[in-house]
Symmetry: C2
Amino acid sequence: MRLEWDFPWGLFRAPQTNQHNHRYSHTRNHGRRTDPPREHFRPCQHCRHQVRRHHQGLPLSTNTTIPSPHAHSLTPHQHRYWGKRDTKLNLPTNSSLSVTLSQDDLRTHTTASCSPDFTQDSLTLNGKDQDISGARTQACFRELRQLRKDVEAADDSQPKLADLKLKVVSENNFPTAAGLASSAAGFAALVRAIANLYQLPASPTDLSKIARQGSGSACRSLFGGYAGWQKGEKDDGSDSLAYEVAPASHWPDMRACILVASAEKKDVSSTSGMQATVATSALFQERANNVVPKRMKAMEKAILDRDFEAFAVLSMKDSNNFHATCLDTAPPIFYMNDTSRAAVRLCDAINDAAGKVVCGYTFDAGPNAVVYFLAENEERVAGTFKNILGDKTGWEGKNIKSEVQVPEGNEVAVESLKKGISRVIITSVGDGPRKTEEHLC
Amino acid sequence: MRLEWDFPWGLFRAPQTNQHNHRYSHTRNHGRRTDPPREHFRPCQHCRHQVRRHHQGLPLSTNTTIPSPHAHSLTPHQHRYWGKRDTKLNLPTNSSLSVTLSQDDLRTHTTASCSPDFTQDSLTLNGKDQDISGARTQACFRELRQLRKDVEAADDSQPKLADLKLKVVSENNFPTAAGLASSAAGFAALVRAIANLYQLPASPTDLSKIARQGSGSACRSLFGGYAGWQKGEKDDGSDSLAYEVAPASHWPDMRACILVASAEKKDVSSTSGMQATVATSALFQERANNVVPKRMKAMEKAILDRDFEAFAVLSMKDSNNFHATCLDTAPPIFYMNDTSRAAVRLCDAINDAAGKVVCGYTFDAGPNAVVYFLAENEERVAGTFKNILGDKTGWEGKNIKSEVQVPEGNEVAVESLKKGISRVIITSVGDGPRKTEEHLC
């Protein structure tokens, strides 16, 4: 059993206030309720007098949980994050956009807590202890602690949390497969959870600068809907931050069907890949300097205009453009495989059969296809894939009709998909991180 | 039985003279000797008086056979032929280089003949009649006939061959698989055979302008060794021609191991692919205008310096750069598949294990890998692939040792190659078209 402090959640879009309005509850931990051990009873350091009055001897274990959605840079791979102008600060060579997917379907659930009982900072992902000695994780911890110290310095009544060790526990509700951008969502959730634990008065944009140092794309994951990441110009990275292009409610009928390719270990980590691309691709500078800036503007306009055709065409073009620069790296980086090629062929065939652009694909740093479509074309797009992949997991509860015929002449691609796709995820554009009472620690 | 005229063969590198020094022979046709039918006996129009004197009533069936090597643009894919500035004239948007492979291993054997008995022009490839109504084939026939007409107009004693119908019979000694550049070798052989039949005083460079109109890359196939194709600047294509960078004898120890991928139909024909790339790729102009010109110079230098490392690195980079622009096409063009990726990984691993660049790959418009190496590294490179693919055809008579261990950690790639490669071709740099007495018709 753990006695928990739950801090109230500010609206994430507005700077959080320093209001101290916590709640005390006895909750079950792992379903088993026990009395707190004697040694846990200490004076609360958060708000000494209130706690003393109401909950004498509470353990100093504070806890805040973030179910963070996946805003993996699905959409505008055309504005994809790849190539860093500064490795340490994770500063990108080009701006980028992303669509945040619904956390009902793709979610990283993270609880952050701190306590004098903790002897070291720790991070657990899906039940496994993670190495947090890396510069990226350390940078996030350090920056968040510094902000907390600022809060504590400005207000002497604030409990001294910054000096306590942190315990972060994280779980994904999807397989941590290659290319599902789990590190981006993971760092976003970590930063959001600790920021809430610390009650930092930081906006999502402020926090995006910290999350960026953990995993570049994480900065966008602090937003819901359609988010951008401006590359910034300054050497210290202070203007390389995320912003909202439009909330999910602006264009809520955006849907995605993710075709998850059978697990195959990535042979190049994203970071070394990125650096090699910048250093060796003869085409990368053209992409970063000319291709992306133009498409970035066009994509923002497509989103604001709710112009699906432009959105889809730009997504496909930019995904291919991005993977072209990967292939142009020495040694070449291949993320797309034969299964990915089959998904591309099927999307083209679905659009051809429809006589208009009803779907658009994009590929992250892995073989999984993310196929976008509007709710009105669900049967035509997702239904076609269900016709092919109906025996895979992921269709349950989605009620997608699959009476659409697979366009003819795609037998090879169909066979390749049946063989190479292990599961599907049907989802839609969603909101940013939100509060939950389901604590993981 | 056919009574045949065999014209002597000029050296292909020098302009051919109009010397008329033919030979008359009774030869077997398809192994069966019969007397010529009466209606075939006519006065020879080639050299009326000599023939009359010696061979009264010879049939006017002239015949010239070209075993043409494959100079498919294997090497400097970095200077690969892709993208046309003029579709009709097959004018490329960038210059290119190629290595001519030994015709002992990869050969197109072509016989051209003309006769008043022929009622129409015809072309047979591997026993099958081909459609010759296409503009490309017609352009080759037309231009060669025009040159013959010039010869006949300048010298009244010349037999009137230009008005006779042509019969061209061609056979490849390798499977007409996707991506083995059979059309390039085919058109080169066709042009060379007809030019010799017509005794044209045209140099290989002159003929390259005609072959180019049949199939762009064919222009280089008229040369042996290391050949270039300058893109030219003129609208009429008169300066878009092939030239010799170095003969095979300059760097004779160049070897190639071609990994032929299991037959899979190409889903985009090369021509439509090229045009789509020029029209839609955001990276193609960068490649054509900046990347290729620099690498073209570097590659010519590598060949002249016999610098294998530079040669191999440039080959790999340019192959990847070329395929990157294919991928950046809308819709994307994929020639490399998972088997190709495995070949790339193995080459990288072989070089890593050697601690230096001992092999370089390149991919044409198909999944087949062409792996270059020097004779001194045969065991290390070809031997490694033999260790993996020893049960495929193509190793017979090549006496390649295969005691080299496959570098560790490449199990996935090894499995992929075993599954995806159907045969290998071990070959070397070779000479240009040469004469043969083995007539196909």
